[in-house]
Symmetry: C2
């Protein structure tokens, strides 16, 4: 499997999603395959070092995989990042996080993609699903109209909101709350039938949001002037470096030890 | 009362809050008095025409009051606006909205103030309480830290979130959702004991948020360069004109007829 994982740039490692339920794995494989399929020919192979593509802690209770592919210089893609993370909890349970994010470069101002499923118990899951804007929406109502109103993205949030098992989720980070769009799905799902909920509600919605991102954002033709490019580079850089700091800066050392955390964060910072 | 209302620049009309419950009126009077007290000497008298300070519809089922005071040119205040609105509903109930907002000018980049209580039944109220930011928070994490993290504004939202009678409220306007801060209180309160809820929870929190706004925003010394001033003017103008369009553009004609709506909107647009 060493040569095949090299060949696929670590995609196989990611696609295992070994610790999550069938419907959860099926959804993530579907999303990653769809993105890689549609962006085929625009992406470089994953160039992360093998010990960043897959890493664990010394005692073997934490394990994670990262799959990162930058876009060709001529493409609108900055990079896509898929990941999973598994940690046994001292309480006997486990924390499982799977994510897929996609960042566009400054040749377009279209929104990014963010999908994250955070499961901390068999009956509870936090779902984050959004196209984070890359412009200040207050100053740019046309941008809000194009990417959020005309796409009717809010209907997905409204559909989930109606379910009694679903409650709004507020990130403890005010910065993360600022980064997301007004149609962001940020919810906690509490149910004994989590697998069914993923199949029936989460998966169809996540696929729809991904389709919108691919059609309107990744492949939407946008004209961006020079000064706007500078602005996008600055804002994107700030958003990415803050996001990585908040998401991983404190949790990775805690879960995997300082040495491994440094190795992973260093590799990611080269791209972020 | 005509000469006294002239003398107080229409403040008396506003301060009546004639259609809402005791605790609701008490809270609004307290907030308006506190703002006018602390900003005393920085504000011009209300210069709205009398038929904009108070207006109604032909059949007498809708009635409203507006009280708007601009800031002296040397002050950091653009204007403050207090209002109440009462409409009998065809269902037999009534809609009552009371609000207080304060906008700063481009001599400072500190957040504005927004308080709105929307009561559409005796047992249900929407509460909007926020210090809307005047900078893009994604690009300006220091601003987020100063005004939202260091002030611990989120603790008020968290306190309300814990109450079973309180549910998150999502504005139907994506623009309004974009204008508010990540610590915004946007909730629907459903309870038979609405007056008690206002006294026990809403009033203390609203007063705390107002105190933060006065201490840190209205009287916080901020240094703003020339290019930032231009940016603030542009962003403020966009936020104000969109807000008035969304808030009043369609509802005022419906509730008060086109002629009255035009008169009120024209007077407000001169300041917004």
């Amino acid at each position: 499997t060493s040569s095949s994982s090299k060949q696929h740039g670590g995609q196989k490692l990611l696609m295992d999603f070994p610790y999550v339920s069938g419907p959860h794995k099926k959804l993530m494989v579907d999303l990653v395959s769809t993105v890689e399929g549609r962006l085929d020919g625009l992406l470089n192979p994953c160039s992360l070092p093998p010990d960043v593509q897959s890493y664990g802690n010394e005692s073997g209770t934490s394990h994670a995989a990262l799959h990162l592919r930058t876009g060709l210089h001529s493409s609108p893609i900055d990079f896509i990042l898929g990941s999973w993370l598994h940690c046994q909890l001292p309480t006997g349970g486990a924390l499982n996080i799977t994510s897929l994010s996609a960042y566009l470069n400054s040749s377009t101002d279209a929104p990014n993609l963010l999908v994250e499923l955070i499961q901390s118990s068999p009956t509870s899951m936090v779902l984050i699903l959004d196209l984070p804007p890359r412009m200040d929406l207050v100053l740019n109502p046309d941008y809000l109209k194009t990417f959020y109103e005309d796409t009717q993205l809010d209907q997905h949030r409204q559909r989930l909101e109606k379910l009694s098992e679903v409650k709004p989720y507020f990130s403890s980070s005010l910065y993360i709350r600022s980064v997301v769009s007004p149609t962001a799905i940020l919810v906690r799902i509490e149910t004994e039938q989590l697998e069914e909920m993923i199949e029936t509600n989460v998966a169809p919605i996540a696929k729809e949001v991904l389709k919108t991102w691919l059609d309107i954002c990744a492949f939407g033709e946008r004209t961006v002037g020079d000064s706007e490019r500078d602005y996008l580079r600055k804002r994107d850089h700030m958003a990415k470096s803050k996001t990585i700091e908040i998401d991983l800066g404190s949790s990775l050392p805690r879960l995997f030890g300082q040495e491994t955390a440094n190795r992973v964060l260093e590799a990611l910072r080269e791209v972020f």
